[in-house]
Symmetry: C2
Subunit: 243 residues, 2 copies
Amino acid sequence: MRLKLSLAYDGTPFCGWQSQAGGNTIQDRVQAAFRSVGGTNVIVHGAGRTDAGVHALSQCAHVDVGEGSLTPRDWLRAVNANLPPEIRIMRCVKAAADFHARFQATGKRYDYRLWCAPVHPPLECRRSWHVVRPIDLRVLKRDAKKLVGTHDFRGFSANRGHPVRDTVRQLSRVEVRRDGPRLTLRFEGNGFLYKMVRLLTGTLIQIAQGRADESLLDDALVGKAKTSFAAPACGLYLVRVDY
Amino acid sequence: MRLKLSLAYDGTPFCGWQSQAGGNTIQDRVQAAFRSVGGTNVIVHGAGRTDAGVHALSQCAHVDVGEGSLTPRDWLRAVNANLPPEIRIMRCVKAAADFHARFQATGKRYDYRLWCAPVHPPLECRRSWHVVRPIDLRVLKRDAKKLVGTHDFRGFSANRGHPVRDTVRQLSRVEVRRDGPRLTLRFEGNGFLYKMVRLLTGTLIQIAQGRADESLLDDALVGKAKTSFAAPACGLYLVRVDY
């Protein structure tokens, strides 16, 4: 039986999603929990990787489990009981036998959260990017609009060992919301390159603070410049994966 | 110069407010930060103690610092720079020379937060009490009203070594708010006994779940019974201290 999982996690104590030798990744922890329930050598396939410190409200994944007596609901409860409290399966349903969490994803939504005030409240630490220097909201909103559409985002990507050939992605929505000291940038698109949201956010904020020139954004959007200032991982949330 | 501080903290990594031998308390950390800025052997007097794991949005404290060149705003910045991110001075102002954070407090507000759903979201872990068994909201609200007024709360207190002689306190407000899975109990009063909010919350919830009888509350409120089920520390927030 193939299960489709919606996973939430506080990324703080983990070395990101992707399984690695040390073992302290979200994928490793979820696999270990499935194995302690089911005993088999399951692999949990995520819709995408998240970096160390990045959070998820709903990462999607699929996993094959034996056709035993456990229902998806039973799996949810049993696996959650074997996970640290920083990781939870929020939903678990039976999926089609050919469902694939990564290959069939048609879009994703990320939120990037900032806290704009002189003091970073303790309950916000490691959950938002603390920014003290003033941000010109008008500039930020104008630039956010520029990102919408289909662009070659190679200027907003980092190398993860293997080069990506196709760097064209479509962003359907980039929203800026301010609620007191809380500032949220919302990105919706059909796909994201490695570090893309953090580089987009870092660049937008630097320009809106007057620390970088508008031309950096314009040049990077046509592939003529490479951005390098990535907003910190702790402000990034994978909010939704669409199929 | 006497400073009045408003402190916020995530209580998770600390052994409570009160200074102790191990040193990993909020009072110890704040004193150490003041000492590394000012060099003198300052004592930070809090409005009250909070237990290990209890959070504060605004704990109040006073501290005497030398009449040097630092303004309250300078102290705030410099001390915050020497604190772990889980503790922050949110406000710092000059106070009257005889201001006392504990003796002059006229009231406090605590919030107790619960999360009522089958799965506890990871970003809520250690920040709310996860309750799965159904709660009768009608019963909870009715019982919350009973607490308002002046009562002998000895039945809702725990011993902290030295017995407290006067156990009469006045609660001016006990509110129940539900927002989806989030349930918040708000307590305002002129003073609180040790563990009082957690014992009140634990007892209210047990009755509203049908796990304890209404008579336990009635008897404890007239000093004829002692309650023992304290809601966990992680759901408790010191929200405000009044003067």
